[in-house]
Amino acid sequence: MPASRTACWLLVLSGLTFPVLGAENVVGSVKAAQGGAVVRRGADSIPAREGMHLLLNDILQTSADGLLGVILQDGTRISIGPNTELKIDRFLYEPAEGKFGLLLRLGRGVLAYISGKIAQFSPDSVTVETPVGVLGLRGTHFAVSIEGI
């Protein structure tokens, strides 16, 4: 991490006018984890714990007794229930450059969501894909449960 921080500074000092995100492109953090809850990252399956940083393409996965509460870096709030699988497929939040996008893929289970700044800046850029259809969100609060998949 010190290396990437140094790289960060070098970029800044070289006069680059774009914001450089935190070292590892963190997209969010776990605020609460209960029961069987893991984060699948590539080939790894990491037990989810409070405070853990989340990265793009992470898959949040819970078992029958699992619950996970997550806040993304734009303030989007997400909660998933038992037997759920949710992938953070796209997260783009660069207000200084006007770039916004959020795509969540709900493979199964239950999800509650309250929108953050991505939806506020760019209402059409938030999508949740589910096995039964695509949800186009316009800055709001909703819940979805996927059954019989």
């Binding site: 909660s79 039964v132 259809g133 695509v134 019989g148």
Partner: protein, 216 residues
Amino acid sequence: MATKRLRFGWAWLLLLGSGCAPKQAPVPPPAPPAPPPKQSLVVLLPDPEGKPGGISVTNPAGTETLSQPYQAVRVERSDTAPTAPFAMDQAEVRRVFGAVLDGLPAPEVVFTLYFGEGSEALLPESQAQLPAILNAIRERRATAISVIGHTDTTADPQFNYRLGRRRAQGLADILRARGVDSSDLFVESHGDTDLAVQTARGVAERRNRRVEVIVR
């Protein structure tokens, strides 16, 4: 031959994937009983800030739009159209979604600190906000704290980007010195691209010379 048969039997067990697999030699599996039609459910809920919202539910068979709180649609499969929106009982919403709704984290908290003209030093009244920031970080056990520097439009954009960065970095250093883990601090600069108060170029504006600390 016997082992082969045995292996076959195991394969069936696995295929059936349930505790009630037949123990006898392979026979064609019975057609699975038609499952009760399970339906996925999408419900729009009141926006916490009372702003209007909406959701469209789209699959190859059709689209429906929810525009009122507690409106819901059911969808059976990706190739069956969503039902027409219907009003969902609030008690039913609690029954189905209570646990996940209660599991939603608290909203992020934003603090805004101000600076003198061209300066990286916090104004005294902003300095006084530091305990509240540290308290919020501690209380929420926040591990994702954004520190975003901004400037007014006095200087050129490149200078402003760097000034915003120095302001944010300075504040991050203060937080770090008071025990915040550096890997939890996300330092950025938006320079003069994200003004709190719109001005022409070359305008000194106190409310634009700021650092936002977002505690999640």
